[in-house]
């Protein structure tokens, strides 16, 4: 059975950090899943492409930012406004298990996909048992 899409309303960032940019900032909705060798973050950032996204890692904090210009429409008047338009920002704490150098990002159809590989040293290792001849 196919269900109807139900997701939380677009939410603005609620934090005390002073912004250096004017305008509204929203929290992108995100999915995070883990496999044996990586973590994957999918973040919805409609209006953002690879040239308007910024990903930083600082002190174990991974921050995603997407910049969106709200359109100016001369000659039009808004008659229905169900969502706001502005930048996106969200931070996640990284565990030590993530290989920072190996983080990869891609942007398609307004969805940012971040692949965070786990450090090789932390991956489960197979220990081969040698036959001991006596």
């Amino acid at each position: 059975m196919v269900t109807a899409i139900a997701e939380a309303d677009k939410q603005e960032v609620q934090e005390a950090i002073e912004s250096t940019r004017a305008g509204r900032v929203f929290v992108p909705r995100a999915d995070i899943f883990e496999s044996q060798d990586k973590l994957v973050v999918l973040a919805d950032m409609p209006g953002v492409d690879e040239s308007s996204v910024e990903i930083t890692v600082e002190n174990n904090i991974l921050t995603l930012q997407g910049f969106v210009k709200a359109p100016v429409r001369d000659g039009y008047r808004p008659v229905l406004t169900e969502y706001g338009v502005g930048d996106f920002r969200r931070s996640f704490t990284l565990s030590n298990a993530i290989d920072r150098e190996g983080i990869e990002a891609a942007c398609k159809n307004g969805v940012l996909t971040l692949t965070l590989p786990k450090s090789k040293s932390l991956l489960p290792k197979k220990v081969t048992v040698k036959a001991v001849s006596d």
């Binding site: 109807a4 899409i5 939380a8 309303d9 995100a30 919805d44 008047r77 008659v79 229905l80």
Partner: protein, 155 residues
């Protein structure tokens, strides 16, 4: 409610444009307040998907929706008389063997929304454009429904 508000727009002239803008801001504020009152905002799925923004001019309407992660071929737009229907689906991410979700906030499934505009639509000239997960539909007013100015000649 939605239909009412838009069909009322038919009579709004330019001097009322500020009024409409404040009304839509008020609407957004009311929406946020509702979310606060109904409890956990993360779990609050009060509104229909997708959320829409609509602008009107004398000749057309612009309808916008945020449809991140949806391909153009998965969106179906149909027009009848004065209403526009938007249908589509976003597939759920299928976890591979050994993968598990830590967090799942992005919705998946089907959606359908209809919108009634305050004019007859010129169905042949509706244009839809999907870029970076944002859908924009330009809905032109039918020629027969355009405002006509009648010159008064001196006798």
């Amino acid at each position: 409610m939605l239909l009412q508000r838009i069909s009322d727009g038919r009579f709004a002239d330019n001097s009322l444009s500020n009024f409409w803008r404040s009304l839509s801001e008020l609407d957004a504020a009311r929406h946020n307040l509702n979310r606060l009152l109904t409890g956990d905002s993360a779990a609050g799925t009060s509104s229909e998907f997708p959320a829409l923004n609509v602008w009107l001019s004398e000749d057309d309407a612009l309808v916008e929706a945020e449809l991140a992660g949806i391909e153009a071929e998965d969106i179906d737009i149909s027009v009848t008389n004065d209403s526009l229907t938007l249908r589509g689906s976003r597939p759920a991410y299928a976890l591979a063997e050994g993968e598990r979700f830590h967090r799942q906030e992005r919705g998946s499934g089907q959606f359908s929304r209809s919108l009634q505009l305050p004019f007859r639509i010129d169905a042949d000239n509706v244009e839809a454009n999907l870029s970076k997960g944002v859908l924009q539909i330009r809905v032109p007013r039918a020629e027969s429904d355009k405002l006509k100015k009648i010159m008064v000649r001196p006798a």
